[in-house]
């Protein structure tokens, strides 16, 4: 018969008239509860740690962050018949699609040497930021069950999502190396410069990921908008054309400058200059200015190597400073912004 008693808990019975009494303080101590709690050194359960203590908490969970990223990466392709092969196939197909459209059909190369290598490097590097932005803006709504089940610093989640994309990028870089070497690009020590460049980019992505995770935690409208914002950004960042060449038209030099200092373009150009000799040697300003040689340089295709003798709007040194600057600004702003709402993420 007791089954019936339990059935009484069904939602249909909620309207029954059972009025709880007004709060009776008989069972409570006389002193204010907050003082009682303070006397026994109890702490608020939903308290936000200090801004530096929070960094310590995140560091303490570093194994969780890495484990979370690796596990998600493994789980991502378990339903596919080709399994982990997709980690290689996805960047390859990406490269093929963009080369078909921009390299062959539209031919946006405008005389950029070795356009295939140029384009694929740009796509892979931008893809890292693009995927990181789109996934982190959804991380809080997507992880709500986990957030409500276990207490841990929530910053682990956006950082973990960026690490997932970093692991994917590593695979893309292997594909890139094979493609670039097979097109006759020499393997040089300069290639090592790609590592600090990608590290700065990862820092930038983590900072922005934290920032976007908080924005995306509030209203879903934001994460719906994100893919469009990122795509617009891609077309502005010289992924499938060279900003340096475009700004040589000198119709809108300030626009060209703004495009060149935007973080995506900075990281793309840093990696291109590390890997592609033609980019490095032709970068405007990489050789002493020589008016006569510069004059011979023609955007449409003649004496391309002479572009190095012209004045560059942004030099290679500038690129490194800009890259480091963007990374630091993003990580400081994103971290503080995310930390401010730490206790509110479980609310939904």
């Amino acid at each position: 018969m007791r089954e019936r008693a339990r059935d009484q808990g069904g939602p249909g019975t909620l309207t029954d008239d059972l009025t709880p009494p007004e709060i009776s303080r008989d069972d409570l101590p006389d002193e204010p509860l907050a003082e009682l709690a303070a006397r026994y050194r109890l702490r608020p359960s939903a308290a936000r740690p200090g801004v530096f203590a929070y960094a310590g908490q995140l560091w303490a969970r570093r194994y969780f962050i890495v484990g979370f990223a690796t596990a998600r990466n493994v789980a991502m392709y378990t339903e596919a018949r080709l399994g982990q092969l997709w980690q290689v196939l996805t960047p390859l197909l990406n490269a093929a699609v963009y080369y078909l459209i921009f390299g062959i059909i539209l031919d946006t190369s405008r005389g950029v040497p070795k356009f295939l290598d140029f384009l694929i490097t740009g796509i892979f590097v931008f893809n890292f930021t693009q995927r990181a932005f789109i996934t982190t803006s959804r991380v809080i709504p997507d992880s709500l069950p986990l957030i409500r089940a276990l207490p841990f610093p929530r910053g682990c989640l956006p950082i973990g999502y960026v690490l997932i994309e970093l692991e994917q990028l590593a695979m893309s870089m292997v594909v890139l190396t094979v493609i670039v070497l097979s097109t006759g690009e020499p393997l040089t020590w300069y290639w090592l410069l790609a590592l600090p460049a990608l590290l700065l980019q990862a820092m930038f992505n983590i900072g922005m990921g934290l920032f976007l995770a908080r924005l995306g935690a509030g209203a879903d409208d934001f994460s719906q908008l994100m893919p469009f914002l990122v795509r617009t950004w891609m077309y502005c960042s010289g992924v499938m054309y060279s900003i340096a060449t475009v700004s040589f038209d000198r119709k809108h030099p300030s626009v060209g400058y703004l495009l060149q200092v935007n973080p995506a373009a900075v990281f793309i150009d840093l990696v291109r200059n590390a890997i592609l000799a033609t980019q490095r040697d032709g970068w405007p300003g990489s050789k002493p200015y020589n008016a006569a040689l510069c004059k011979l340089y023609d955007v449409k295709g003649a004496h391309l190597e002479n572009s190095a003798y012209c004045h560059g709007t942004v030099t290679i040194n500038d690129l490194w400073l800009l890259g480091a600057g963007w990374a630091i600004v993003a990580i400081v702003v994103g971290y503080v912004f995310f930390w401010q709402a730490e206790t509110k993420y479980g609310r939904g």
Partner: protein, 270 residues
């Protein structure tokens, strides 16, 4: 009040109010046109509802207490536990605890696409264990859960009971000062319920604090020395005389009175 052996509180809940927002709760016809009209008229989204789940709850819990929380569905039991664990921020009032409370609930979803093994490792890492500690305790966690060979299968293939057992094993791998169990034992078999009952008693012995939400009143009477009856987000009745509160609850909700001489052992299938 004689049962509490130490008067040091571990959890103080001070006039707690919890409000959460529910999206997509009915409303307009859900077409683009109605949405546009709403934006033009600057109306709030009707599909967002605020649920005032806890409306001013205060109590103090001491070392070694095991508190049963009873009440009908929707009375705010799970929400209260989530707030004590710090997973749902309070709208007003405050919860003070002596340490991080571990909440073990029906919805404690781990990562469903991953194998049980990876869930054990990730769950332990998330609780703040080091990789070495996880390695040391891994086998005992798996043994306690009793899922056997299924540990290599994705968790979505588990039965409800198996998933519960694994979650309970993970959460109890670390000794917590405050452990909260939300209906998590309901789906386990008799053997597992006996094991987890032992674990709860062990925790109480270590002067830990246990919260237990259950509709199985026999389990509450067997495991708890104090009970809180929630109704509409407020405390209806509470006290250390567990049978008295349980009887009052049964009477108010129209249940049969419990026959205690028959069912003292925590078996509710009588």
């Amino acid at each position: 009040m004689a049962v509490a052996n130490s008067s040091d509180p571990t959890v103080v809940v001070d006039d707690l109010h919890v409000v959460y927002r529910v999206y997509g709760a009915g409303g307009d016809k859900g077409t683009a046109a109605t949405a546009l009209m709403r934006v033009m008229k600057r109306q709030r989204r009707p599909s967002v509802r605020e649920v005032h789940a806890i409306r001013g709850v205060s109590f103090v819990v001491n070392h070694g207490d095991a508190i049963g929380i009873i009440g009908r569905n929707g009375s705010g039991k799970s929400t209260l536990l989530q707030a004590v664990a710090g997973l749902l921020p309070p709208e007003q009032g405050c919860v003070y605890t002596s340490g991080q409370a571990a909440l073990l609930g029906v919805n404690a979803a781990l990562l469903d696409d991953l194998t049980g093994e990876r869930n054990v490792v990730l769950g332990c890492l998330a609780m703040g264990m080091s990789p070495q500690e996880v390695k040391d305790r891994f086998q005992s966690i798996v043994d306690f859960s009793g899922v056997g060979n299924f540990i290599d299968y994705p968790m979505r293939t588990y039965s409800t009971g198996m998933a519960q057992r694994l979650r309970f094993s993970i959460a109890s791998a670390k000794s917590h000062e405050i452990l909260m169990i939300d209906e998590a034992l309901a789906t386990g078999d008799a053997n597992f319920r006996a094991k987890s009952h032992e674990k709860i008693m062990e925790l109480r012995g270590e002067a830990g604090t246990v919260f237990l939400v259950a509709h199985n009143l026999a389990e509450i009477e067997a495991s708890c020395n104090r009970v809180i009856w929630l109704e509409k987000g407020k405390i209806m009745m509470q006290g250390y005389d567990v049978p008295a509160v349980v009887d009052a609850y049964l009477e108010a909700t129209g249940g049969e009175p419990r026959k205690r001489d028959k069912v003292q052992d925590g078996d509710h299938s009588a």
